[in-house]
């Protein structure tokens, strides 16, 4: 089966051999209310920001999913009384939470379906992602080209994020940063995976591909001192440049690997840092489509595979610059030197 990926059209992909309409549910958080106070509409499309509120116990989000007759007709072999289920799944990474709210159950009618999603302050932190699905609710005997098993996904929609608290910056990084002497590594073991002592840094994916480490080379003592123990503003500005320089390569490699190794048929990212990298990069890679991390990984993989090397690498180059903003780093540095 040829992949049906089209960046400018609705997104059907090869993971779903059955009739499926990814991205075609309209989903929104209509309003939210804290501890029963009067409801507020979200200021930004796709995002609810609760970070500035304090002292609440429960947030109630009114969610609405709209499904068209056209979609229902396309994904169910039945002509009427569609045996489906519409739900909104919620994930919170910080508290290892996965849960769902069911908006409508068999039969599913075309039109809009609403319900409340309740978030308890004791059970969530950082960011909660909300993802709408239409699934099949009962198994029937096979009908060609249709998904007929209970639970099979028939359509989904764009994710919303709920920002509960500032995302914890410590601990669960996608990348460990460390330092060592590359020269010593070579003295200890001539077959070492570490590059030569002249190099400044090394993104280590060989020791444990699930746990990347960015090594700075202690043979360049001044650079390592700047990054770990810079004292003046000038030190910090320069450390920023060194940091940015290394991270440009790191991001480029990590985005490329995450895209190439992405497996659309597996529900999990393996290793999980791929998800973190794509979460961050997806909107920068495809600003117009603003796809989910999974879809971004898949688009980029297709593009790299199908000969779009120039476009794909240009996309990565731009995304990395948007994430790191090296121009500002250099301008700050130039300003500072000019001011001395």
């Amino acid at each position: 089966m040829t992949p049906q990926l089209r960046l400018n059209r609705s997104l059907t992909h090869e993971a779903f051999p059955h009739a499926c309409r990814p991205g075609e549910l309209d989903f929104e958080v209509v309003e939210y209310s804290l501890d029963g106070e009067s409801p507020v509409e979200p200021e930004t499309d796709g995002r609810v920001d609760l970070k500035d509120y304090e002292g609440w116990d429960a947030a109630s989000l009114k969610v609405k999913v709209n499904v068209s007759e056209d979609v229902l007709d396309a994904v169910f072999p039945e002509d009427t009384d569609y045996p489906g289920r519409i739900l909104v799944a919620g994930h919170c990474r910080a508290t290892y939470l996965r849960d769902r709210t069911i908006l409508s159950s068999s039969p599913v009618d075309p039109g809009s379906h609403s319900d409340e999603v309740e978030l308890k302050v004791d059970a969530v932190g950082g960011v909660v992602e909300l993802h709408p699905y239409l699934i099949r609710a009962e198994t029937v005997s096979p009908v060609a080209d249709y998904g007929v098993d209970e639970g099979v996904m028939l359509a989904d929609g764009r994710e919303w994020t709920v920002e509960v608290t500032e995302d914890d910056a410590g601990g669960k990084n996608n990348l460990t940063v460390d330092r060592t002497s590359f020269e010593e590594k070579h003295e200890e073991d001539e077959d070492t995976r570490f590059p030569s002592k002249d190099e400044m840094y090394y993104l280590d994916l060989e020791r444990d591909s699930a746990n990347p480490v960015l090594w700075f080379n202690e043979d360049h003592r001044e650079i390592v001192n700047l990054i770990w123990a810079g004292e003046s503003d000038y030190d910090n500005l320069t450390a920023n440049l060194a940091w940015n320089h290394a991270l440009t390569d790191v991001w480029t490699r990590m985005i490329t690997i995450a895209a190439i190794e992405f497996d659309a048929e597996d529900s999990e990212w393996t290793p999980e840092w791929h998800a973190g990298v794509m979460d961050e990069a997806s909107q920068h890679l495809f600003p117009e489509q603003n796809p989910s991390a999974r879809k971004a990984a898949q688009f980029l993989q297709e593009e790299l595979r199908e000969g779009g090397h120039v476009t794909a690498t240009k996309r990565i180059e731009s995304a990395v610059q948007e994430i790191l903003d090296p121009a500002s780093g250099f301008l700050d540095h130039v300003d500072r030197i000019g001011g001395e």
Partner: protein, 268 residues
Amino acid sequence: MKGENLQRLSSGAEELLRENLSFMKGESGHEYLDEDETSDYVEELDFVHDSETPGDADLDGLEEELRRIESEYDQGDGKMDSEAAVAVREHVDITRTQASDHGIWHDLSIRKFPWFVRHRWSYEGEAAMRKKFWTHGVALDSQSCTFERLWWIAEITRRENDEDDPYLYTRRAFSTRRFVFRVFDIKMGRYMPAAYALIEVLFDEKDDEEEGDEVVNGEFVKNDVIDEVIQRFRKSGAAMPYEGRDRESLEDALGDIRSNVEAELADE
């Protein structure tokens, strides 16, 4: 007293582990880090001093339990996880949001009970040992520090409303390292109905007449069955979001997968 002694270590404290092999191995005179070194990183927690906020910890009780476990199991014996997880979850009774602060678990692993970390894990190199003291990633089994791993997997598998034995599934989950590694290192295990269904289908209870292990009463299927069932279940998850289904439906699907896998392995 509420939350007595529960504190956190701020980030940066992982530097204390760097090339500190004598501490990680627990050599004589290096069992604990110097207080002078750690004091800069120790931080108090708001909630333990506030009677309005839930969250409580009994570290004396926890220490007593951990000492008992230490005396009953050999060094490096993974079977102690079943009991240790229950002990940690019971004595550190805080909310999920509070527990999402890694600093609490780093403090328990590095500063309060480093002897337990060393008793649980045999030293197999610096990088591997550092992960047992300091959380390196979201994978609960392989990348989380010792106390974070135990608390969270217990939290995910316990059944709060089961008056008879709320930790039956916790102990069963921990009875085989392979299961914990396959299920809780990835997002699949975080949907509780899926975690329960996996334990229900892959763990065989013993009949009453048989002499069973008191703690878990039964055992998991063989590792190759665990591996293959979970692999197929993961593949199905891309086309069937787990949240669309409840526990019974997931158990049915998993039961079918298990039968197929066992039949295929028997043919080989």
